[in-house]
């Protein structure tokens, strides 16, 4: 009986990918909701929590697109490292999330214009970019390929980024030391 039911569901008018689509809309909706809450919440710590949730939902979208490595790296770097750093900063900055401190300002008009300009730019970018529209399945990127291209074709940007990061770290330590004296 179960078999026939499944057969019927499979043959019914529903497109087979509707489940994937449904989960995409669900995760995308969650991402938007959390992203909105990041800017809408008045408590800095709440913003940080919602930002972590936003980043997690984005990694869910990556997983749906079969970009496993990107999803995992997103979690390790953004949620595991950067968010923890943010939260640590909030914790070490005394009373930053106190109710007494004003956390919004009056620059509504200015920020609205800026946001609209960004929206326009993104809209143009999305419309203009040549999307892959064929239904062909795309092979998931193999890690070997990724590693090889990182260390051959893209070795210069890779090294430059690590140098920049090193400079940032040294700079942060220098600033921290200077304050102490």
């Amino acid at each position: 009986m179960l078999n026939s039911l499944i057969q019927q569901l499979n043959n019914s008018g529903l497109p087979l990918n509707s489940f994937a689509q449904l989960s995409f809309y669900f995760i995308a909706g969650l991402t938007c909701l959390f992203a909105f809450l990041v800017v809408a919440s008045r408590n800095v710590f709440h913003s940080a929590v919602f930002l972590a949730l936003t980043l997690l939902s984005v990694s869910g979208i990556y997983l749906l697109l079969d970009a496993q490595f990107l999803a995992v790296v997103q979690i390790i770097i953004y949620v595991g490292a950067i968010m923890i750093l943010f939260v640590f900063c909030i914790m070490l900055t005394s009373r930053i999330s106190d109710k007494a401190i004003r956390q919004v300002n009056q620059q509504v008009l200015f920020s609205l214009t800026l946001a609209l300009i960004f929206l326009a730019i993104f809209y143009i970018l999305i419309i203009k970019s040549p999307w892959l529209s064929s239904g062909a399945e795309i092979e998931p990127l193999s890690l070997k390929e990724l590693g090889r291209s990182l260390f051959s074709k893209y070795v210069l940007p890779f090294e430059v980024i690590s140098l920049v990061l090193l400079a940032v770290m040294v700079g942060a330590i220098a600033i921290g030391k200077a304050r102490k004296e």
């Binding site: 499979n10 929590v49 979690i75 914790m91």
Partner: protein, 322 residues
């Protein structure tokens, strides 16, 4: 292509995994109490069931029926969300748990990285619990926990990286298959990596001798001081599930996973995992707690350099032999 059969099948897998996780957490809690009792020359739980085997179920029922108390000055949203952050990532890590040749929910080609990534979210739960409780002991504990966990994540990842270089893959099943001849622990580099992994994994799950975030004599009960009832149970289950996960990763990466003669593979996997679980319990009830500064110094000045040198030597060894 998603078929409805797949959806039903995957739901079944999820339910089975949830059942296994709760049963395993309960068993581990009972076993921990028994091991601590044996080490301290006591009996431990004896009344409910055979040698107290049903004690965790009685405890769970008690926790379920308890009143839900939330502190008046707590940050309600963060306080409510924290237990979920403690449990859900731990459950998600079971997606890549290789119980058998075919008994794995999804053999992701980034398996090990996925497990490390997803379990690292649990830190956020601890942090939220400490912050949301609005209690100085909880906050101190959360800060200690996070500093400790992000420090020990580095040697842990480096030791896992050494294994990945030998296995030439990130998928859990490939790593197990690469050990069909010898377990990885027999290579000298990987023996060192195993020791580093075990030490940093103990610190990752906040167990003694690295349990400064729940040091009872200093911090009452640490980040879960204010939690009671089912929320406390969530933290407890999350803790023991993470404990099982790190032991299972150690068994998979270093001890050959489900491979072994005579017995069925699932039994081998569980035997190896529970052997490491027992080792860590033994450590917990034998060694005294370390100090905060000792803990951080050990991670940054001892474990991380050794792990780096070990990785370098492993790389040179592999270049020479291949």
């Amino acid at each position: 292509m998603v078929k409805f059969l797949d959806i039903i099948f995957n739901t079944g897998i999820g339910v089975a995994l949830l059942g296994f996780i709760s049963a395993s957490a309960m068993f581990l809690i009972w076993w921990e109490r028994k091991v601590s009792a044996w080490i301290q020359n006591r009996f431990g739980p004896m009344r409910v069931g055979w040698h107290g085997l049903l004690q965790p179920i009685a405890d769970a029922v008690k926790l379920l029926l308890k009143e839900n108390i939330s502190p008046a000055s707590a940050d309600k949203l963060v306080w409510w969300l924290a237990p979920f952050f403690a449990v859900v990532p731990a459950v998600m890590a079971f997606i890549c748990m290789p119980f058998d040749k075919n008994l794995i929910a999804r053999d992701l080609n980034t398996g090990v990285l996925f497990m490390i990534a997803i379990t690292s979210i649990c830190v956020f739960g601890i942090f939220m619990a400490g912050w949301g409780s609005n209690n100085k002991y909880s906050l101190l504990s959360a800060m200690r926990a996070v500093a400790q966990i992000i420090s020990y994540e580095i040697p842990l990842t480096l030791s896992v990286l050494t294994v990945l270089m030998f296995a030439n893959s990130l998928s859990m099943q490939d790593i197990v298959r690469a050990q069909s001849k010898y377990w990885f622990i027999v290579y000298p580099n990987l023996t060192i990596a195993f020791i580093i992994y075990i030490i940093s994994a103990t610190a990752e799950v906040n167990r003694a001798p690295f349990d400064i975030s729940e040091a009872e004599s200093e911090l009452v009960a640490g980040f879960h001081t204010e939690y009671s009832g089912m929320k406390f149970a969530m933290f407890f289950i999350g803790e023991y599930t993470n404990f099982f996960i790190i032991s299972a990763i150690a068994a998979t990466l270093f001890l050959g996973g489900w491979q072994g003669p005579f017995l069925p593979p699932v039994v081998w996997f569980l035997l190896k995992t529970y052997a490491i679980v027992f080792l860590l319990m033994w450590v917990r009830w034998t060694f005294p707690r370390v100090r905060v500064d000792q803990l951080m110094a050990f991670a940054w000045k001892v474990l991380t350099p050794i792990a780096f040198v070990n990785l370098l030597i492993a790389g040179l060894f592999l270049i020479k032999t291949r």
